[in-house]
């Protein structure tokens, strides 16, 4: 379980996060939802230690973040960070050199799943293809948790669909996924849990199926109620 407890973040005299607390379970897909600028990406970065927190705690399976955390949690940022001169195959080898958790067989499976060409250069990828390659890099690590920052943003319908399809396969099954999005509509049936972020705090945290069965509401309905203020 990833636990975020009372996370605060102050940036340029502005309180971006004002005590964010929530959990993301292993074996579940948890979605961090909020309008643009709500601080979703900041939360993910702070979990990974890529940006300092002003206050608060992050625990992964009950332990504070440490060196081994990076073999346990994969982070897929909202843009591809591989150097543009690299071929896709070189990018995969680069990852293999740096991560013990790298699983080459799974990387091959994912490359095939997304129909990516290993001889292509990173710099020549279209936005949608880059997003798929970014997912390959993140998901091919044998980690218990995967954090994804806006995996669907700015991508055409067919690429979005093929990315969404990954969530139904054993490439993800059993791991804990924490992703952010501001357009939850088309993927909400893939989610186990939603965490609504508003004004730097968690406005609501709920199991999606529970809200559907008890209140007859979609995630978007709840999002409208809670965030539309």
């Amino acid at each position: 379980m990833i636990e975020v407890v009372n996370m605060h973040k102050r940036y340029r005299l502005r309180n971006v996060l004002n005590g964010v607390s929530f959990t993301a379970e292993k074996g579940q897909v948890t979605c961090l939802i909020g309008v643009n600028g709500a601080g979703k990406s900041t939360v993910l970065k702070a979990i990974m230690g890529l940006t300092p927190m002003s206050k608060g705690t992050v625990r992964i399976d009950g332990r504070a973040r440490e060196r081994e955390t990076y073999e346990k949690v994969a982070f897929i940022p909202d843009h591809l960070t591989m150097p543009s001169y690299m071929k896709l195959s070189e990018g995969l080898r680069f990852m293999a050199d740096f991560y013990q958790s790298w699983n080459q067989a799974r990387a091959g499976e994912l490359m095939k799943f997304f129909r990516l060409d290993t001889s292509e250069r990173v710099g020549n990828l279209s936005k949608g293809t880059a997003a798929k390659y970014n997912l390959v890099i993140g998901l091919a690590q044998d980690t218990d948790y995967v954090l994804m920052d806006e995996p669907f943003s700015g991508i055409d319908l067919f690429s979005r669909e093929s990315i969404a399809e990954v969530f139904s396969t054993d490439l993800i099954d059993g791991r804990g996924v924490l992703l952010t999005t501001h357009e939850v509509g088309e993927i909400e049936h893939l989610l186990d849990k939603a965490v609504l972020l508003s004004h730097g705090t968690v406005a609501k945290e709920f199991q999606c199926e529970q809200v559907r069965s008890e209140e007859g509401k979609s995630v978007v309905d709840v999002m409208r109620e809670v965030l539309w203020v």
């Binding site: 579940q28 139904s168 054993d170 049936h189 186990d192 979609s218």
Partner: protein
């Protein structure tokens, strides 16, 4: 969202629990004879991939169907549709009853006389069936999204 499973399209709405929509899909398949008693059904993982849903949801749908004794799982063998005919027969009755009840609940607000309503239902029903059959012969089974 929808998905195509060999000719039958499954539409999921976002307001009803997805697992119950999966259960309902199975019931419809059984009621219309597309799935038969004792038939092996896809594994949880296959179902998730087929319907493009979360594997936890597929798991929950199967658990629900096991509790309703719609499917049986013995040991490590794949799950099957039950062989208990009385359960299978009750499914059709249940589906019909639920759907008609929902229809009546919404039509009552319009306060239409029963004769007029039945007349209209008959006409629309036949028209829809006619439309359906011409659509299939025209498109040759193409997907209409």
């Amino acid at each position: 969202m929808h998905t195509n499973d060999g000719g039958t399209e499954v539409f999921f709405n976002n307001r009803d629990p997805v697992y119950l929509q999966v259960v309902r899909h199975f019931k419809e398949q059984i009621a219309t004879g597309r799935m038969e008693a004792g038939q092996v059904i896809p594994s949880r993982r296959e179902l998730a991939a087929l319907f493009k849903i979360n594997p936890n949801t597929a798991q929950r749908a199967y658990k629900e169907m096991e509790e309703q004794q719609l499917i049986v799982t013995e040991g490590n063998s794949p799950s099957r549709i039950t062989n208990q005919m009385e359960i299978l027969q009750s499914i059709r009755t249940e589906l019909l009853h639920d759907t008609v009840a929902a229809f009546i609940a919404s039509i009552r607000k319009i306060e239409v006389p029963i004769e007029e309503l039945l007349d209209l239902v008959e006409r629309e029903f036949n028209e829809a069936r006619l439309h359906e059959s011409t659509k299939i012969s025209d498109s040759g089974g193409d997907r209409n999204d």
